[in-house]
Symmetry: C2
Subunit: 150 residues, 2 copies
DNA sequence: AAAATATATATTGTGCACAATTAAATTTGA
DNA sequence: TCAAATTTAATTGTGCACAATATATATTTT
């Protein structure tokens, strides 16, 4: 016999709160590491995407991170002010703003490479447990993705 | 042979991003349901705690939700403005502010009881999968809890 | 009791998230 | 072809999170 979920209003039984609390704890662990690099956590995510593939547009960054221009535009302006990247309209389509790393931004990658190592050490999870949880979260997020009303 | 974690800077391999993305997706699912109740997601969490046990102080709410007064004070003022709760200094210790539900706040619980039911339906997870993931997240958060430097 | 210390909340300032709107460039189609 | 529709960013406004500081009250120490 398969048990059903019995929905309650008890905080400690909510998956959403476990997720919310764990996510905030996780960024709190990153904070001091990233502060040493002069980055916030969302800024670190943007830099990670650009280290993988430079020259993306704001839209492409937003698709990757699931963030809109209301979040990205000011964040990217701060990274520009910090000298880590440049923003300019594309000649081919002036609606698009292309983001390119400066040398400083590119070079920051070397120091940032320590961050995942520190985290792996801090987490004390086996690679299997790590991958298991990551996949569960990815499929949860996929399950929660807005139904693409066709 | 037990495989080790190979830390990279690739976005799709980060547990932190899976967590961050899933958490934001989750609150996005709650948003329209809670909007119907006139609540934001953090406000809903506060109300859940108070529906469980009324008359807590700001500090006690903060311990439960892991939020500080910088977050809670303005949030509680908004809930007060909305007529859902009252805030007053305790006679026994005037440093403390006790939060008490109004009748309106108490009565909102009935309508809010639908929310977890809607979510359970939306999630399409078995009770086992739900509980499994919730416990994994709780132990992750515990693992990430600030080491209480004694 | 006065001074030092600790505790609880509020305030200030920065940086996300996200909805809603605006503005400009591009594409589509009658 | 040119007006309407679409796309891309930016802007505006609200509400968290969280660090740092301030303020008021309570407790402890001398």
């Amino acid at each position: 016999m398969k048990s059903d979920i019995q929905p309650t209003l008890l905080l400690d039984e909510q998956l959403c709160f476990a997720l919310y609390a764990a996510s905030r704890r996780m960024t709190a662990i990153y904070r001091p590491l990233l502060e040493a690099l002069g980055l916030t956590y969302p800024q670190y995510l943007v830099m990670m995407v650009l280290w993988e593939r430079d020259g993306l547009t704001v839209r492409e960054l937003g698709e990757r991170l699931q963030l809109d221009s209301g979040t990205l535009t000011p964040l990217l302006k701060r990274l520009e002010q910090a000298g880590l990247l440049g923003r300019r309209r594309r000649q081919s389509d002036e609606r698009e703003v292309e983001i390119t790393l400066t040398d400083t931004g590119h070079n920051l990658r070397t120091r940032a490479a320590e961050v995942p190592r520190c985290l792996a050490e801090r987490l004390c999870l086996s690679a299997d447990a790590f991958e298991h949880l990551r996949h569960e979260l990815k499929s949860l997020a996929a399950q929660l993705a807005a139904p693409t009303d066709e």
